[in-house]
Assembly symmetry: C2
Homo-oligomer: 174 residues x 2
DNA sequence: TGCAATGTAAAACGAACGTTTTACATTGCT
DNA sequence: AGCAATGTAAAACGTTCGTTTTACATTGCA
């Protein structure tokens, strides 16, 4: 396993479970199993490391959203929550933790959320046979809501969102 | 203006805008306009201060949700977002920043979210004339979603959620 | 009049922060 | 055989962290 890969995987785990600011570099070097010298050679800085973590997570998350129907979007979200757990959206959390003042992080978040929004519009259009920006916004809100409600309401939040989306889609179709 | 009130107001601003971990006590004493000795006499510790901020915010937020219809719930959320801005849910954010490992904070968050869920069930029941836990869960997801989507989508997210809720309510009524 | 309460200003506490440096070992290519 | 690259271990960098302490001023009530 490549050092950079190992580092990013360890960083994602710690940042996600304990928070970006609360995770010190000592804890990170230990978890990644490498010296701080090597860590900095690969990561550059803590902020750059977080940005790489986010880029990698974007890749992994967006790959799951390569679907053709809105219902499949929620099925994918259920899988994601099952695998990754329910700790909210790491993108919004990193942005909030840094007050948006860390450029590398703010940019990674912005570009992920733009891609996320675009993807939902595409899926809604494919499912409905026409574009519907308002419905897409509602689906986006339901996914974001399921992600965050699941933190304290559990997986029920995701299935509730899925059922709600089905109703909205059905209504938009007829 | 009472010292404790001034302190909590300053703390809420800084914690919300820059994050809990990223806000140092020096910055806090300066913003609150008091010595660190006085600050610690009133707050006890940084974690206790955050807990009091959350308790106060819960009071202010829940007061706005004293309504009788689901649509009024979203109108209240629109007002809240207008006044307080769109930086996501401070309760979930504090919990995430501390990994749930700070008891005072974790408890304040848990009790707020429990009250929040209860209130939505009540409003849905009042609006519909009967209890509907599934619809309540969907409304909760829409509010949580609007709160977080608004961070990058703006106020449109809230009105989209409002319209979606209207459809779900209408369908549940007939 | 005098004491208890409440405040400020500022230094000090040890610990932890992100990052860099020093000194050395191992590897793989030409 | 020899050099460049890549790694480790560990100390040190100066800064900032949350919190406590020391010394002193002001106020309000008995």
């Amino acid at each position: 396993m490549d050092m950079t890969t190992k580092l990013i995987a360890a960083a994602e785990q710690l940042f996600d479970r304990h928070g970006y600011m609360a995770t010190g570099m000592d804890r990170l070097t230990e978890a990644a199993g490498m010296s701080s010298r090597t860590l900095y050679k690969h990561a550059g800085s803590k902020a750059q490391l977080m940005a790489r973590v986010l880029t990698e997570r974007d890749r992994r998350f967006m790959a799951r959203l390569e679907v053709r129907t809105v219902d499949a979007l929620f099925a994918a979200l259920e899988d994601w929550v099952w695998v990754e757990g329910t700790r909210g959206c790491l993108f919004l959390r990193s942005r909030a933790e840094t007050g948006g003042d860390t450029p590398e992080i703010a940019e990674a978040v912005a570009s992920h959320k733009a891609a996320f929004h675009r993807r939902i519009e595409e899926v809604v259009a494919a499912d409905l046979g026409r574009e519907d920006p308002v419905l897409a916004e509602q689906v986006l809100v339901l996914i974001e809501g399921a992600t965050h409600a699941a933190v304290y309401r559990g997986a029920d939040a995701v299935s509730a969102a899925r059922a709600a989306a089905a109703i909205l889609i059905e209504r938009a179709r007829t």
